[in-house]
């Protein structure tokens, strides 16, 4: 989804200066093994700009207390910041109301929340959940729970050999027993961007709600949940240049109102007595216990940082890096790229003849190049492509062509050390 943002905001830059942005990330100037750090693992977790770290520290050292609890000065100040963060998320996702934003501890908890509170109370044996083979385990395992414990049936939608989603197959998989379509916005392995608007239209035509896992997608694409008309959209903070320990679920108000409470504890109740309990309205109903307060302030800062950039220009920068990397690895006839879907996001996964991904990653690491190696929490997808593991370089706004060159140099060296298999 690359539609322009519907909400207004001031753009401080008409284009994107990657080198200037790079300087905002202090960690990128460090060395590992006496080599400059080349961080190509932002798909696993992104680095944080100085302003995010400073803001969290400033907040913790001047305005911090628990939220929604005390009448004292600091509690009011902290509550203001926490609720302001919710409004920043609302803006970032284009939600109609801040009450449609539920803070969670991450993307995984957000999906589990939907599984537990939205589907579990009414699911019947034989009810179906449609999902794609390129889902991250966090968008698979919660549905497996419903299969194991409630007899739900998982309907898998394949991807084409280039990694693109077979939308017709997805449409065909949605039937009278389908209760939910759970689909990634952007594959963490293939980089494939899914046509969410089309998927939502097809699912809604059959009366089926859609959940999108936006943990990768929201980083690289401009999200407009109202424009998509999507039912549930999930993000995680740490991939969005924000802190760990926080994520969010966007859900339409109509859904949230019907969803049963998730975890029980403080904050999510209205009244508790010895034999009776009533619950708070959403979103508080789903935020039991002390929330990640400092993290919410950090996440809001990270999103403000992103929204102050020309995100279309950022996306163009990342696509340029991907195209350059794709072209450069093309010279290696011993390397196979997995995932070449048109319009894909800035993730490059590959396997190399006679070189296991972990050996490759170890050698790259010694060159200062951080990549991910393994199954990427996507074993169903690994099986689909007949591989045990892949190496993955993922690009963020702070990467540049020198990073790609370091990757290519490291690959040549790995080939030299590990030989020809």
């Amino acid at each position: 989804m690359t539609a322009p943002l519907l909400h207004n905001r001031t753009k401080i830059a008409a284009s994107f200066d990657a080198e200037k942005a790079r300087a905002d990330f202090e960690i990128l100037s460090r060395q590992v093994y006496d080599k400059p750090l080349v961080y190509l693992d932002s798909g696993a977790s992104a680095q944080k700009p100085r302003v995010v770290l400073d803001t969290m520290r400033d907040f913790a050292s001047s305005e911090y207390a628990n939220v929604h609890r005390g009448v004292h000065f600091l509690s009011a100040a902290a509550t203001d910041r926490y609720e302001a963060a919710r409004r920043t998320l609302q803006k970032f996702l284009g939600a109609a109301s801040e009450d449609e934003i539920v803070f969670t501890k991450g993307g995984t908890e957000a999906i589990n929340l939907v599984a537990y509170s939205h589907l579990m109370p009414t699911i019947q044996p034989g009810d179906e959940i449609v999902l794609s083979v390129m889902e991250h385990h966090s968008n698979i395992v919660p549905w497996h729970f419903l299969r194991e414990r409630h007899g739900a049936v998982l309907r898998w939608v394949d991807v084409r050999d280039d990694g693109s989603l077979d939308t017709e197959a997805l449409d065909a998989a949605i039937g009278p027993k389908t209760r939910l379509v759970a689909i990634t916005h952007m594959s963490n392995v293939l980089g494939t961007i899914t046509p969410l608007k089309d998927i939502v239209a097809r699912a809604h035509a059959k009366g089926v709600p859609v959940l999108a896992d936006g943990c990768q997608g929201a980083v690289h694409e401009i999200v407009d949940v109202q424009g998509l008309d999507i039912d549930f959209y999930v993000i995680t903070g740490h991939k969005l240049y924000g802190p760990t320990g926080i994520g969010a679920l966007y859900a339409k108000k109509a859904h949230l109102k019907k969803m049963r409470p998730f975890q029980g504890g403080g904050e999510m109740i209205r009244e508790v007595s010895r034999d009776r309990i009533t619950y708070a309205d959403p979103p508080a109903r789903f935020e039991a216990g002390t929330p990640p307060i400092i993290e919410s302030v950090g996440l809001a800062c990270a999103l403000d940082y992103l929204m102050a950039l020309d995100r279309t220009a950022v996306a163009a920068h990342e696509h340029d890096l991907l195209a350059y990397a794709r072209q450069q690895v093309g010279q290696f006839n011993w390397l196979r790229v997995i995932g070449d879907a048109p319009g894909k996001g800035a993730i490059l996964s590959f396997e190399a003849d006679g070189m296991h991904a972990h050996d490759l990653a170890t050698i790259l690491d010694r060159e200062g190049v951080a990549v991910r190696a393994g199954h990427h929490c996507a074993q169903v997808l690994m099986e689909r492509f007949g591989v045990a593991s892949t190496s993955r370089a993922s690009f963020a706004l702070y990467n540049n062509r020198s990073d790609v060159d370091a990757l290519i140099g490291g690959l040549s060296k790995a080939r030299e050390i590990l030989g020809h298999g």
Binding site: H356, H358, D359, T362, R366, A373, G374, A388, L418, G419
Partner: protein, 147 residues
Amino acid sequence: MDSALRELYQEVILDHSRHPRHYGAMEQASHKAEGYNPLCGDRVTVYLQLDAEGRVADIKFEGKGCAISQASASMMVDMLNGRSHAEAEQLMQGFLHLVKGEDASGLSEDDRERLEVMGGISEFPMRVKCATLAWHTYKNAVEEGAT
């Protein structure tokens, strides 16, 4: 050139990983176990034929994974053949010390010489699990893998 890398991926290790010894399934195994490292997907299955005294009469392995895990498995089966469980345990302990960069003086001189090529792994703590997978699988096969 990075000497730690050169030591890790020296020719002996690459040779074992490309041409593993005693590779394949064993139909008449008295013990077997499968080891799996979910982090990287390395797999090793160890097949054993133990004699009446518990001595390794025959040993084979099958597996898929990184050079370190497969080379380590290949070297292990090469060395365990003919040993009693107590001897194998002692060898395993020495090996674990060696790959963690600890004191491996419990190893006989001959064993230490043969295993020394794996010593470079101690410089790569993230990869120690790859090297130890086969050994833990062997132990599992003996203790819980009677067929």
